[in-house]
Structure formats: structure tokens, C-alpha cells
Amino acid sequence: MSESRDPVEWYRRMRRLRRFEMRAAELVGEGEIAGPVHEYIGEEAVAVGVCAALRADDVITSTHRGHGHILAKGGAPDRMYAELLGRDSGYNRGRGGSMHIADFALGIFGANGIVGAGAPMACGAAYTFKLRGEDRVAVPFFGDGAMNQGVLLESFNLAVVVDLPVVFACENNGYAISSPIDEMLGGELVERAAGFGLPVRSVDGMDVRAVHAATSAAVERARAGGGPTFLEFRTARYSVHNIATGARMRDSRSEEMLAQARGRDPLERLAGELSGNGGWGAGGREAVDDEIERELEGAIGFARNSPRPRPETALDYMYADTYPDFPAPGWEQ
């Protein structure tokens, strides 16, 4: 489901990512989604390009800004919206929300609310593949801000010394909330990774073709036992860091920078190419766009019509193995 070399499919996926989030933002605005939501809009080419180079049985770990990764790896919009709306039919049965969506059947080990925390887990999954002699790879996504987090840096080293089939996917959107990378990161991003002995590449993250090509090469190498690679994808988020019911976060970035980023829009870029070379096929771009609208409409409907978890299930899933009177409720009757 994940692997694809078809540009129309790439466009379809990028469109799905973008529209999924635009609709999600509306649902936030209407108070249907509780908690924080970090929009991926602008960065679609990264998730789609990377995941199109992965097999269904490859593994990704994601970030706080996870919707794009999950959709691109094959995540179902209906179960994702259901999760965002806190429904029992959601991926995590309403237990996780935006920052924790996962689908283990699709190799999606989950979004994560702690910056950098997914990377060592991807390494551990990759080690499992290696021990079992499987040719699967693991791809942790993370941002430029995460490049300063110790656990990620330690993971670079682990991947090299244990020689793991891992492709580190760094989404450099230039900011960690309000903090620009130039003020936060010493040295050059890819050189930092290279210093750990990782082969590195810096890629235009607004160009899905380039993303796919670079990832494919790294994945192939990893599958063949060639070890880990680090890829920087230069990209931009269009929106503020985080939206939440009743409050959009302030944006500290300049209008200019944002306008420039929008000028490199990954969807328009691929769409332009497809229009130029007659690549769209039957219905043209509109057919794809309409298909996505219908899909998302249905998905939102599914979510809205699903029940919320029942209060008496609040303590479920904490442990696989439970005991009498354990886990403890917060008060005795």
C-alpha cells in the first residue's frame, strides 16, 4: 500500500494529506477535536516521497506533527479522524489523539509527543529485523529542532555501531516553534549527522520526486545490509506550530519567508508537471481532488457516527497482564 512510483498517486496522497488537515483544522475550530493539533501542511512531499519508497512491512516512527506520515504510510483517514474526535473506532480507541496515532499493522509505530523519542525505537525495530534476518527497514521522522535532542544524537551513533537498516528522515522546516535553526543549531545540519559516521544527503523536501529518489537509494542500501543513512529534507510548514480549540498559536515567522515557501508548493509543482506532460489520465486533476473530498467527507462522517469510549473503560489497555484491583482506580468506593 505504501510503495508507489506513480506520480498521480503521489499527488493523490499529497492532496489527501493537505485536505485531511484542512478539514481537521475546521473540526478544531468547531470544537470537535480536543487537544493540540500540529499541521503538516507544506511538508507533504516529504512524507509522501519517503513512504512511497517503503514497503508495507517497513516501519516508521513519527512525531508530534504526525498526520502526514501516517497517511502517507497508508493510514486510513476514517480511523484517524475517529481518533482525533476521540472515538472508540479510532486507531488508538480514542486513547491517543493526534500526537499518538499508530497502526502497527501498517508498520506505523506511532506519532510521539516527545521530540526525538521515536528515533531510538525505530533503531530497536530495525535491530529486530536484523536479528530475524528480515530485509525490512525502519524510518524515524523528526524535525530540525530534534537535532539538538540527546536521545536522537545517541541514536545516530547506535545505528552506526550496530549497523542498522535505518533511514533517518530529518524534516528541516527551519523552525522549532518560534526558534530558527540558525540560532539553535551549531554547525551544519547534515555535517552533524555525518560526524556520527552516517552517510548523508540533503534533499529539496518540496520536490516529491527528489525525496522519493533519495529515500529509495537509502532504503535499498539498508535492505541490502549496507547500514543506516541520514537524509535532510529542506521543507517549510505553512501554518503555525500548533492549533488547538479556541487558540491558534502565534507565528513568529516573517510573511516573506512564508510567501517564498508557498511559492515552492509541492502539490502545485507536481501538478504543474503532470499538466505539462499530460500525465493526469482520464478525469484530470479534478477527478483526483474530488475523490479525496469524497473520501474525507466519508471519513469524517464515520468518525462522527462512532461512539466515544465508555467511561468504565478508562483504565483499559494500561497493561497487557492485569491483576485483581490493578491498575488502581483513583478512589475507593
Partner: protein
């Protein structure tokens, strides 16, 4: 006195502490440029370098603050969300907490751990809903949980000028509450609990955001002739053991209302203290009203089901005051 919000009170405390002592400086993520209301205006008001935006390196910037404290500064380290202290936990537990004794008194660590965004109830899910003060207390870090705007200011000032590490744990649910706040820079002393409402039938020792919940429960119970004393310890470590004992001596009954994980949580400590020191006054079992021992789930019905609120406090009092 002036009314202001809890978060404005925190901001005012930082302004005043920084004016009073040039050794005070603030560091954290995204705290400059007015990105966060608790630190708003500080970078304009003070000399460059006294408000530092840090990379996402909680361990290193906490260690950095420890080092600055050892060198004579009074750093205030902000964690955007309380559970973000965990990546820095070694620097908190193995360093800040332990160094003073290990050094045999050669140096102090007057650092403030400023934990924003504690508490649950907003659909922030498992990793952004902790009330992790018990971890700090068990490690020996002095800890305050202000329940009102006035205490937010007074305890923040006390924390900054204490000559030891102090954690100021700020519950996200209290940020917009309002109250009277003194204009001066008086510090609220540690180990000094406060009777929020006097009563004779049962003591509710309530922490942070459960202080308003306990007051609400008390209101409901008074209709049935049950007079609850709501006692707010304000600082959890050091803890006002005398204050607790005095209240329990009067009422003979104790409910501890604490929105952190139940097992080995702060409520256990209060119960343990009372079971040792107040045994002869106690006329009923000690009840703890806490969170359930599970990760906070996202969806509202289950999130609310595992969190303590006024209703549970009320029920616990009824169960022992009947």
C-alpha cells in the same frame, strides 16, 4: 488589591525577581518574543542574555542552569510542559538534588524548575497531562503547587530566592483563574499551609487544582450539615506537618485530594504522615482521592473518568463522615 490572572501573577513575579537581583535569569524553549504569556515582556525589560531561548536539549540546559547556579546565579529553568522534565531527569535527580550534600556544603544550587502545563483535562493525552511532582519530591527537590494567583506569585518569588532547588509546578487548568494579588514582592514562605475554609467534621488536604474542587465539595456538603475544613499545604516539600496535624486533631477525619498518580503519590505521603502522627485523633479511615494509576487517555469521557473532581472528594468525605 488588584485582581489578575494566575499567569499574570507568575509573569509579575518573574519581572520583580529579575529587577531585584541581577543573578536571576530565565531560560527555556521559545520564551522570548512574547511567545509565552508567563515570560512575556521579560526580554524587552532586561539586559540581553537574561532571557535565553534554548535548543530542544532539556538535559543540557538543565545542567547548564545547575552550573550557573553553582557559579552564583539564580536560574529559572522553564519546562514548556511538565512531563518534559523527564529528559532532564538525571540533571535534576543525580545532580541538582544530590550535589549540595555531596559537596559537603561547599556550594548551593539556587535553581528554580518552572514546570508549566502540568495537569490533565484538556485532551492533551498521555505525554502532556502529568502532574509529576511526586517524582521531584521523592528526589528531595523542594516543590510548591500554588493554587491561587496570589500564591503563584508569592511562591514563585520564594522559590527563586530559596538557596536550594525548588520546583514550581503550574497546573494548566489554573492559568486563567483570577484573584487578588499583592503588588509588592512578598514571598510566601514554604512549609506553611493555609486553611482555605474552616470546618470541624473532616479535613480535606487538597493540592493545586483540587483546592477549588475541594471548596466546591465543601459547599455541597454543608447543605447536609457536614462542615469540611479545606487545607492547602501550598508547598509539598517542605510540608507543613504541624498544620496538617492541627487540622486532623480538630476534625478527626482526613481525605487527601491529589491529582497525581495514586500509588506512591503525594497523597500516600500525607496519609502515611497522618497514620503515624495523628493516629490517636483519627476516627475513620484515611481516604485518598487521586488519579487512577493509568496514563491519561485522550478522549473526554475516559479522561474525565480517571481524574478526581469535586464529586469524588464529596463522596469520600461522606463515606467517612457519615
Amino acid at each position: 488589591m488588584r485582581e489578575m490572572t494566575y499567569i499574570q501573577a507568575l509573569n509579575e513575579a518573574l519581572h520583580q525577581a529579575m529587577s531585584e537581583d541581577s543573578a536571576v535569569f530565565v531560560l527555556g524553549e521559545n520564551i522570548r518574543g512574547g511567545m509565552r504569556p508567563e515570560t512575556a515582556g521579560l526580554d524587552d525589560a532586561f539586559a540581553p542574555g537574561r532571557v535565553l531561548d534554548m535548543p530542544i536539549s532539556e538535559a543540557a540546559f538543565t545542567g547548564f542552569a545547575n552550573g550557573a547556579a553553582l557559579a552564583g546565579m539564580r536560574p529559572v529553568v522553564e519546562f514548556q510542559v511538565a512531563s518534559l522534565m523527564f529528559p532532564a531527569f538525571d540533571q535534576i535527580v543525580n545532580q541538582a538534588a544530590k550535589l549540595p550534600l555531596m559537596l559537603g556544603g561547599q556550594a548551593h544550587i539556587p535553581i528554580t524548575f518552572f514546570l508549566m502545563g502540568a495537569g490533565a483535562g484538556g485532551g492533551r493525552a498521555g505525554q502532556h497531562s502529568d502532574n509529576p511532582y511526586t517524582f521531584l519530591i521523592h528526589a528531595g527537590i523542594k516543590t510548591v503547587c500554588p493554587a491561587t494567583p496570589a500564591d503563584a506569585k508569592g511562591l514563585m518569588l520564594a522559590a527563586i530566592f530559596e538557596n536550594d532547588p525548588v520546583a514550581v509546578v503550574v497546573n494548566a487548568n489554573l492559568l486563567r483563574t483570577t484573584g487578588e494579588v499583592p503588588a509588592g514582592s512578598e514571598r510566601t514562605p514554604l512549609a506553611n499551609g493555609k486553611v482555605r475554609r474552616a470546618g470541624r467534621d473532616a479535613t480535606v488536604c487538597a493540592i493545586g487544582s483540587l483546592v477549588p474542587a475541594a471548596l466546591e465539595a465543601a459547599e455541597r456538603l454543608t447543605a447536609d450539615g457536614i462542615e469540611v475544613e479545606v487545607w492547602d499545604p501550598r508547598s509539598l516539600l517542605p510540608f507543613d506537618k504541624e498544620g496538617l496535624a492541627a487540622s486532623v486533631a480538630k476534625t478527626g477525619r482526613l481525605v487527601v485530594a491529589d491529582d497525581s498518580a495514586r500509588t506512591c503519590g503525594f497523597a500516600a505521603e500525607v496519609a502515611g504522615l497522618a497514620a503515624e502522627r495523628c493516629f490517636d485523633s483519627l476516627r475513620a479511615p484515611i481516604k485518598r482521592v487521586t488519579r487512577a494509576d493509568v496514563t491519561v487517555p485522550y478522549s473526554t469521557p475516559i479522561e474525565h473518568a480517571m481524574l478526581p473532581a469535586a464529586g469524588e472528594v464529596e463522596a469520600a468525605v461522606r463515606a467517612i463522615a457519615a
